[in-house]
């Protein structure tokens, strides 16, 4: 009976937090809400080496949102029901963020609540415990006890929670910085910052001097030399693909526009310490950016040595890499000459106005699945299987899903997985539907973040995640990337 650590924790101690620029409380005064949230964070700051600085950016470590019902993650709220809020463990993207049910009646004053009103301070202090890496504790009275217990007037962080946070981040160092044994000379003039000062901090290795609590400053950058990747996965071994026996290709034309939503604009403007000017005053989230069809200029042939990938798949033991309307094929003798060529030259059943594919994988039954927008195209070798394309909902995926980012058969348990945005699903190939206990949050695959480009299992049995122009090798046992920093895809997979 004690605290529980989930396993993830922040690598830096000077954390930033921000109210969401979109999902703000519809019934609360914003300035007072921010004040309560700052107090809730201070509970953890007073007990550990952590410091929290409010910024005005959705890129902050901890972004606080007030949302209703289904709000884009795998944990919908229930109106004025029993679920009050939830938060995500430390990590990139949504890691660390806290969501509060905007249908609840939140109380900002520390007075005792009742059956209807709920203390925002009490719930926020609990949720920020998750944001820092603590799971639920079965100790009654602990802050991380999952059931709501209200808050005592002169609240002191219970012992169980203090042990938990200090076990992860170490206790607060109260000694004066001058006589602190591990104090090291400052290399740049200190800039005095205090907890309540709002400043836009950019995530870069720097020396942070924090005098309000006379904590010694910490060198946050790593003095060691940048790690050189100390391994090279076994180079791809190649063997010829068995010849196909082309059959007459039925003329199938299915027209579907595929498009890739514009990347969500990044809000990052200066934020004065007083309430933000012309703040949106209603809780209707901004409309999703209308998907724009990716232009298909004549010269959209991707640069082999300088591109990201839309999809990567091992098909009949050969590596197929897809980008825009084209694909490369890497066989036993290396990259096939005259590639990249149009995808539709090999798979003519795909839409004529194809701009790109979202995901590709070879199913256990050796059929080849192409995900294009909201549709699945299934091929038996080069021939579109009768009855396809089918909508994603046919696989049990939600109606609201616009596209799949990646798909693979995971070597670790030979199960099929689909990834999209911040969520992923396990797919039952026999049933032909996703399993009940999904979607789950992508943070389960530690280190790859959200919105991946592709994933596949290479011939060495390892799993590789792709995003942008780089990739990670993934440790299936530890469920985390084997190296924090991405490796360049062109060098390894294209032999550039």
């Amino acid at each position: 009976k004690r605290f529980a650590k989930q396993g993830e924790m922040w690598k830096h101690t000077n954390l930033t937090w921000s109210m969401s620029s979109r999902l703000i409380p519809s019934q609360l005064n914003l300035h007072e809400t921010r004040h309560v949230l700052a107090r809730a964070l201070d509970v953890w700051e007073q007990a550990s080496r952590l410091t929290f600085t409010e910024v005005n950016s959705d890129e902050a470590d901890i972004v606080v949102s007030f949302a209703r019902r289904n709000h884009g993650d795998a944990y919908p709220f229930d109106g004025r029901g029993s679920i009050l809020a939830h938060a995500f463990f430390p990590g990139s993207g949504r890691g660390g963020d806290a969501h509060f049910d905007d249908d609840e009646l939140w109380l900002l004053q520390p007075k005792n609540d009742d059956e209807e009103g709920t203390s925002l301070f009490a719930v926020a202090a609990h949720e920020f415990g998750h944001s820092l890496g603590l799971s639920h504790s079965s100790v009654k009275g602990a802050l991380m006890f999952p059931w709501y217990q209200g808050i005592q007037p002169n609240f002191v962080l219970p012992e169980d929670d203090r042990h938990g946070i200090q076990d992860m981040y170490g206790p607060k160092v109260k000694k004066k910085w001058a006589d602190n044994p591990n104090y090291r000379p400052i290399q740049t003039p200190p800039t005095t910052t205090t907890t309540t000062t709002t400043t836009t901090t950019t995530r870069r290795p720097y020396i942070h001097y924090h005098d309000r609590h006379h904590t010694n400053h910490r060198h946050d950058y790593n003095p060691r030399n940048p790690e050189k990747p100390n391994y090279y996965p076994t180079p791809p071994t190649y063997y010829p693909i068995p010849p196909h026996h082309p059959r007459p290709t039925p003329e199938t034309t299915t027209r579907s526009v595929t498009n890739r939503p514009a990347r969500y604009p990044n809000v990052g403007h200066e934020y004065p310490s007083h309430p933000r000017p012309n703040y949106p005053n209603h809780n209707v989230p901004k409309a999703k950016p209308s998907p724009t069809v990716r232009p298909t200029p004549s010269s959209d042939i991707p640069d082999t040595c300088n591109t990201s990938y839309d999809a990567v798949a091992l098909i009949r033991g050969e590596l197929f890499i897809f980008k825009n309307r084209y694909h490369w094929r890497i066989g036993s003798q290396g990259r096939y000459p005259q590639y990249p060529i149009e995808i539709s030259r090999m798979w003519s059943g795909l839409p004529k106005d194809l701009t790109h594919v979202d995901a590709v994988y070879e199913r256990p039954d050796k059929k080849i699945a192409f995900f294009v927008g909201r549709k699945l195209y299934l091929f038996d070798s080069q021939y579109l299987v009768r009855g396809y394309p089918k909508p994603l909902t046919h696989l049990g995926l939600p109606e609201s899903l616009e596209k799949i980012d990646a798909a693979m058969v995971w070597g670790h348990n030979d199960k099929t997985y689909f990834y999209s945005g911040t969520m992923y699903w396990k797919f039952d190939e026999e049933e032909g539907r996703v399993e009940l206990d999904y979607p789950r949050d992508m943070s389960m695959w530690k280190g790859v973040g959200y919105n991946i480009d592709s994933v596949f299992q290479w011939r060495d049995g390892k799993t590789y995640f792709f995003k942008g122009k780089g990739f990670w090798k993934f440790n299936d046992l530890h469920m985390r990337v084997e190296h924090e920093r991405q490796l360049p895809s062109a060098t390894f997979w294209m032999k550039c």
Partner: protein, 93 residues
């Protein structure tokens, strides 16, 4: 604002849903149980009781394995939406 619904009916279905939502029971585990006969069905019955006991223990109420008044009261209480027992991928818990 509508008042909080604290009298919602608690039956075996809502209990199963609650146990699945907060990580005490894997989704779909009981449906499989209903299809099986004999001792396999019995073992799934035990899983349900074990899940209830685990919830009762975590919540600090008497551990009876039954959906008794104290358990119903606990399930009506406001709480955090995160699971109490974190899920893992690849079949490990």
């Amino acid at each position: 604002r509508t008042a909080r619904n604290t009298k919602h009916n608690i039956n075996e279905k809502t209990v199963k849903n609650y146990l699945e939502t907060f990580g005490y029971l894997e989704k779909g585990q009981l449906e499989v149980g209903n299809l099986l006969m004999g001792d396999m069905a019995q073992s799934y019955e035990d899983d349900f009781r074990i899940a209830i006991k685990t919830l009762q223990q975590f919540g600090g109420i008497p551990v009876t394995g039954e959906i008794d008044a104290a358990t119903k009261q606990l399930m009506r209480q406001r709480r955090c939406g995160r699971p109490d027992r974190e899920l893992h991928e690849g079949g490990r818990h």
